[in-house]
Amino acid sequence: MGTAIEVRDLVVERGRREVLHGITCTIPSGSVTGLLGPSGSGKTTLIRAVVGVQIVKSGEVTVLGRPAGSAPLRSQVGYVTQAPSVYADLSVRENARYFAALLGLGAAEADRAIADVGLADARGQLVGNLSGGQRSRASLACAMIGEPKLLVLDEPTVGQDPVLRADLWARFHELADAGTTLLVSSHVMDEAGRCDRLLLIREGRLIGDDTPAAIRTAAGTDDLEEAFLRLIREREQVTA
């Protein structure tokens, strides 16, 4: 299994405050990696660095063998921002067709992505009239068009009902089995168990980078929330 994303000594400042303090990690291709941490821990900043829209202070981010954000990557990386970034004054289908057109693809690919996120029945509706959960699925559909090699999803399952959430995670694993790499951020610990690998981030530092099973074993608990807590305490004792 190759490496999809390699982050080395990444330091990022936002608003004259350092928010990532030297992050180093690698993400294998064809896997679902969860980026977990509380709100404000630097998840979105790390994700923005991976898709290449974040100005970084130092360090390197390599995506699919190229510097993050370089032109050839733009048709291979699908990105879903935290707030659903689709046009509220267009229908679901019009949104999907526009994002398909940017990749040189047609209506069939757009319709397939809409069906994949379970919005086939709502495809003619204006995004502005959808519920929050449907809106973020519309945004997800636009990122899934054209089978990108890397899907970077910032909190895609917030506000989804439990059944849909399970469906989405099943879909993520199908994609990963077909070779897509997924980086999914979440602040909900119960989603951590659904990932192949976990990156635990807190206050701009990685405090865990392993499979859920290995993290459970290392922390000596089956509960990932508890394991996260123990990892934090361990670190605080080391630094204290």
């Binding site: 400042e13 936002r14 608003g15 898709v51 290449g52 829209v53 974040q54 100005i55 954000g69 032109a71 733009r74 048709s75 990386v77 990105y79 921002t81 707030a83 970034s85 689709v86 046009y87 509220a88 004054d89 267009l90 229908s91 019009e94 526009y98 994002f99 057109a101 940017l102 990749l103 040189g104 204006l126």
Partner: protein, 245 residues
């Protein structure tokens, strides 16, 4: 730059507009209604109405498209769609030209309706061809779009964006020769007026009013306005950054 992406973007902007019926109605009806207002204001003074209405046919699309575009672009920034678009194969110029094309087409419809109303319903009389008036109106609208795209980079909120109207548009309107003939202005004011693109749009319209045939001055003025629009689009492209802090 990719033509396919530019056209797809223009199509997307027009589709957004189509879903907003009230905006479409306002875009099409308001200039004609304002011209009717002018008609009744200058009732009985045909020459004055002809002079002012002709200039307004060029000014309305400029002002309206400036405002509409700066808000539209600001929305792209604040809703995150711009950040997302810049992670796709879309080029900055594709986005800006897409906007220019879409609102240029909207302006062509608006200009045709307003010019048609002015000539047929309100009895506007010019020596030159009404088609030239529509052409100048469209080029003016594209100038408004380009300046709107550029200015939206300096606004973080809608409140700030609308404040650029008095900053960018009103001085051009005051100094274009409509209120005081440019030759009668103080030298430094005339100098500023010479540097503002709307001045040339108004001069081109005055030429259409006076001469039966399209004059060289009119074509030169039109080229200046179009050139200013291209410069503003390039400047706007420079303000779009793929990477942000």
């Amino acid at each position: 730059m990719s033509l396919g992406i530019t056209f797809a973007t223009a199509g997307r902007v027009l589709r957004q507009l189509r879903h907003d019926r009230r905006t479409v109605a306002l875009l099409i009806v308001v200039p004609a209604l304002l011209l009717a207002l002018l008609y009744f204001m200058y009732d009985g003074a045909g020459g004055t109405f002809d002079r002012i209405a002709l200039v307004m046919l060029g000014v309305f699309p400029f002002v309206i498209m400036f405002l509409v575009t700066s808000i539209a672009m600001l929305r792209e920034r604040t809703t995150g769609t711009l950040e997302r678009l810049l992670t796709t194969p879309l080029g900055k110029i594709d986005l800006l030209f897409g906007y220019g094309l879409a609102f240029g087409l909207a302006a062509a419809v608006q200009g045709t309706v307003a010019t048609g109303a002015a000539y047929w319903l309100l009895g506007l009389q010019t020596s030159g061809n009404a088609g030239l008036v529509v052409l100048i109106a469209v080029v003016n609208a594209v100038l408004g779009v380009a300046l709107g795209l550029f200015c939206s980079a300096f606004a973080r909120t809608e409140f700030q964006a609308v404040q650029f109207l008095p900053v960018v548009v009103v001085p051009q309107l005051l100094l274009c020769g409509l209120f005081v003939p440019r030759e009668q202005m103080a030298g430094w004011l005339e100098g500023i007026s010479n540097a503002l693109p709307l001045t040339y749009a108004v001069e081109a319209l005055v030429q259409v009013g006076r001469s039966a045939e399209a004059t060289t001055t009119m074509w030169r003025d039109l080229a200046i306005v179009a050139g200013a629009a291209v410069v503003a689009l390039v400047l706007a492209a420079a303000t779009l950054r793929r990477r942000t802090p």
